[in-house]
Symmetry: C2
Subunit: 117 residues, 2 copies
DNA sequence: ACTTCAGTCAACCATTTGGGTGAATAATGC
DNA sequence: GCATTATTCACCCAAATGGTTGACTGAAGT
């Protein structure tokens, strides 16, 4: 059985994705497939070190996976954690919709004064 | 015609949502409907000021809206910006899927050597 | 052995962030 | 007019962030 459950840190995912450089890295990886750190860095006007740090943030959030073959670190995008965000959004939307439903019902029911405590 | 287009700042939305306190505020607002700043703050072990700041961050990202009726500021959750995130995720996933498709096709076609440049 | 290449680690710096306090603003209630 | 209520504004502070450079580790090529 697959260990279903949000094993991902929602905050970490969102924070990782909130940086434009890191989003660009993710896009690049999705388009081009697994890349080495150096290859990624070369496409940015930024030091290799900074890119390496960004990758570590992404890795930490689970948005990227590292396959250390040979002396090269192949970085691969990982879409799974995104679903944790999807799920949180869905949850938020549903409780919001639920409240609206309750509100409507209350309005139809004249016993209630229509206020939401 | 509705001004469709991502008028939202993806980075701002993600960053705003990356903080646990702010996520809690959003959840609270979704459950309870519009609330005053003070009401929100009372539910946290945190100064009113800090909560006020958090709300401003959310407001800035478009995730909440302020209806300044009377002297009270009614804060209301706004789900629209979330779709900007949805869309970005969808885009990322689709370019990723596209690349995989291309890869498969290449593998079926023996003229290609199977490598992805 | 020596050099080069791929990356990380460590230290540093400026800026942002998340928190706090106290004063300021503005409307209401007396 | 004065106190109360609701909220923001202006600072202060510690910690985190995004970037830099320079030293280090480890594998490959010569």
């Amino acid at each position: 059985m697959v260990e279903r459950e949000s094993r991902y840190d929602l905050g970490a995912i969102l924070k990782a994705a909130s940086d434009p450089t890191r989003r660009a890295i993710l896009t690049m990886l999705a388009q081009q497939g697994p890349l080495r750190v150096t290859d990624i860095a070369r496409r940015f006007e930024m030091s290799l070190n900074s890119v390496s740090k960004h990758i570590k943030v992404l890795e930490n959030a689970g948005l990227v996976q590292r396959r250390t073959e040979w002396r090269e670190h192949l970085i691969e995008v990982q879409m799974d954690p995104l679903s944790a965000v999807d799920e949180w959004f869905a949850g938020l939307r549903s409780i919001w919709a639920l409240r609206l439903d309750a509100l409507e019902t209350a309005l139809e029911d004249p016993e209630d004064d229509g206020t939401v405590p």
